[in-house]
């Protein structure tokens, strides 16, 4: 597979991994995966959530030790093991999606951070730090005030700071984890220009992403992973986005738009001019019985803030919420739940579910009233309520008493949905319902949600995955910087047009 690329790189890979396997608690996260990067190459590592991309990066950076039989070759040198310190010394730099920066510290300190943490105790030379930081930034062709704290800067600039920090570490291979996830189109363009600069200076860049359009434009090769196994390595020239999606998922998708005609149904929830300072402004919409309203937009568009306000966990500064014709004012989410609004959190791990507790306790958590007998919890009622929902949503579990954390992401999400359905809601808000759910299990969740809508439940479906909203919603709100930037009808628009609007 050692092919010279059009960037004119030499034939020997800078980094090459062979026979990488990883097992976590009986689950094989990586199965005999190979991966290689040429010097100065821009390489795309693609795969759905849970395909093993992150695990592979963690092997490369020495966080995980792969199963015996693995071979890591860096610049011609075969390594028996990799540790985070070794990776650092070799010049393998990872820019994680959360960037791992220090918001309270200055740009200069963030960039020169690694040269500060030496083996010897020494005094901090601030002028040296500023010099190092300015040099690194100028290599990227960027000017920033290095003395200002990082928290003053927007996410796109923080990303540049993270890249500059990698350069200070004498980077030879830079992995970027979902670098465009929270960027607008122009910010993405700027980032990609910087990637080109890096690549031209001989640094290999691996872009790890499931949003393909942008990265394909500048990558020379693409490695596709699926379910922890290598699907293949392909030159980007001649690949289409849908072709890669098929490689990533292993099947061609039913791209049917589910949107239905619901305008004759009665309005359940009506929101008028709802605002909260610095979060969202002047949001108005009607949600009808059986309707699925999609809400999409970039990170920071105010989607979750809007949902939390509808759920009573934040108070609007202006505007009104009307539920079935009656104006409502929630002082907490308990009021909202009692009124019939349910909110499936985007953060299943720490907010949506109580991970250490049992499946049964998680499922009944929001609807304890229904299992009380003379004020006490009746264990027979609890068991039968749980059993009914487990059967109804086709959730695969061992025992009801098992911790919810023992379930797969898809089954966990079904329990979370069941928890809210048990409260008998009129409006169900789903915030990023497929995050951390395998591709196969997503279809099952889509089916459940479609069935609920068919049965008359009004659903607000929030996601930054534009295709997901496009295919599963009846109408779509595009939010941008806290405002409604546009309304879209999936039957009257194409996915491409919608994506163009969102990422503009």
């Amino acid at each position: 597979m050692s092919i010279a690329t059009d960037t004119g790189a030499s034939a020997r890979p800078i980094l090459s991994l062979r026979g990488i396997s990883m097992t976590f608690g009986g689950v094989r996260a990586l199965k005999n995966v190979s991966f290689e990067v040429m010097p100065g190459e821009v390489h795309c590592l693609a795969g759905e959530n849970g395909s093993g991309k992150s695990t592979l990066i963690k092997v490369v950076s020495g966080v995980y030790t792969p199963a015996p039989g693995a071979e890591i070759v860096f610049d011609g040198e075969t390594l028996t093991r990799m540790t985070p310190v070794m990776a650092q010394e070799k010049g393998i730099q990872i820019i994680w999606q959360d960037l791992a920066l220090f918001p309270e510290m200055s740009v200069a300190e963030n960039i020169a951070f690694q040269s500060l943490s030496g083996p010897r105790m020494r005094l901090v030379d601030y002028s040296a730090i500023r010099r190092i930081a300015r040099n690194a930034l100028s290599r990227l062709g960027v000017m920033l005030d290095v003395e200002r704290p990082l928290k003053d800067f927007a996410i796109a600039q923080r990303q540049i700071v993270a890249i500059a920090r990698a350069l200070v570490g004498e980077a030879r291979v830079v992995f970027m984890d979902e670098p465009t996830a929270s960027l607008t189109q122009s910010e993405t363009d700027h980032l990609l220009a910087i990637v080109r600069t890096l690549s031209a200076s001989g640094v290999a860049v691996v872009l790890v992403s499931h949003r393909l359009a942008e990265v394909l434009a500048i990558s020379s090769r693409i490695t596709v992973l699926r379910d922890g196994a290598l699907v293949g390595v392909y030159p980007v020239a001649g690949m289409t986005q849908s072709g890669i999606t098929e490689l990533m998922t292993g099947r061609s998708f039913d791209e049917r738009v589910r949107a239905r005609e619901v305008t004759k149904n009665p309005v359940v929830l009506s929101v008028a001019h709802l605002s909260r300072p610095r979060e969202f402004e002047d949001i108005s919409f009607d949600l009808r019985r059986g309707e699925t309203l999609g809400v999409t937009g970039l990170l920071g568009a105010g989607r979750t803030e809007l949902a939390l306000t509808l759920f009573g966990m934040r108070k609007p500064s202006a505007g009104s919420i009307t539920l079935e014709g009656r104006p409502v004012r929630f002082s907490s989410n308990r009021d909202a739940i009692a009124a019939g609004i349910a909110y499936l959190s985007e953060d299943r791990l720490s907010l949506g579910l109580n991970q250490p507790q049992s499946i049964a306790d998680n499922l009944v958590m929001a609807s304890l009233d229904r299992i009380l007998k003379r004020g006490l919890i009746a264990s027979d009622r609890k068991r039968s309520l749980v059993a009914r929902w487990i059967a109804d949503l086709g959730i695969r579990i061992g025992l009801q008493e098992d911790a919810i954390s023992t379930l797969s992401g898809g089954n966990q999400q079904r329990v979370a949905i069941a928890k809210w359905l048990a409260t008998d809601p009129k409006v169900l808000i789903l915030d990023a319902p497929t995050v951390g759910v395998d591709v196969g299990a997503r279809a099952g969740i889509f089916e459940i949600v479609a069935r609920l809508a068919e049965a008359g439940l009004a659903i607000i479906r929030i996601s930054d995955e534009v295709p997901e909203v496009y295919l599963n919603a009846d109408r779509i709100i595009h939010m941008k910087k806290g405002r409604i930037a546009g309304w879209h009808d999936p039957r009257a628009t194409t996915l491409k047009a919608l994506e163009a609007a969102v990422y503009a």
Partner: protein, 328 residues
Amino acid sequence: MTGFARRFNAIFGADMAGPLTALTAVLVIMGLASPHFLTAATFGSVAFQLPELGVLTLAMLVPILTGGLNLAITFTANIAGLTLAWTLQTHGGADAGPGAFLIGSCLALIVGALSGLVMGLVIAFTRAHPILVSLSMMIFLRGLGEFLTRGGDISGFPAFIAPIGHGSVLGIPVPLLILVACVIASHVLLSRTRLGFSTYMIGSNIESARYSGINTRKVLVLVYMLSGIMAAVAGIIMLARFNSVRVGHGESYLLITVLACFLGGINPFGGFGRVLPVFVALVVLQLLSSGLNLLGANQHLTTAVWGILLIIVMVMRWASSTFTGKTK
């Protein structure tokens, strides 16, 4: 898992295995070491000594389940005892009637609840750490108590109070009856009520509990109030047993209650644990102490043995989870 283990877990719950094993071990070893151990006298002394520590442990248990701690329990017990003593004294001291005792007990429980209310409000609304909040309350109550009593004892109570500390009903010591009532009440509260359910959910993840519509602040306040009330009950038992109240009485119990909770399988970070294993653990500690006493061991040595026991239990728990695979 063997059939025996499965049946055992079905009847008692998996968390009872450790305490029951310890109980058996103490009974066998002490029984072999001293011919006087397995006698009614031993169990009589355990039955009278256990309740103060037992009720204080229940007062510690509920806050621990929420992921917190109440370090003020012993001084809350003292102040509650002082409240009762003061009521009795203003109603004639040794000549006070049962009515004064009832009123005084109610006031004592209210004082206990108030101490919990203040801590609960501060913890729930400022999110300050329970250790700091309850430590502050502890220091406040100690200072207040020492100021009010000038560091001395208060005694001279009516004669009818003594049976609460020393009497028996149908051969069962009255303090033990009070403890058993508190254990049953705590057990039902934690395993069967909405408040108990919420206590566990808050203990393992307070934010997810809040997102599911649990009124986390209210639950925290109630939990600390309950803890304060339990401490007040312990204070009333202590008054009756010693026929006096002194601030600082029972202070050495404070950390023992934490020990008993962990010995009974309570998760130190909250969210998991039941009342009954803690009760068995308490019996083990008290039997051990009485047994060593019989053997002529020094009182201070008993405390040391308790410490060793906790360390052994922790190592054994680690070993059983490591070598049997995936049990929690």
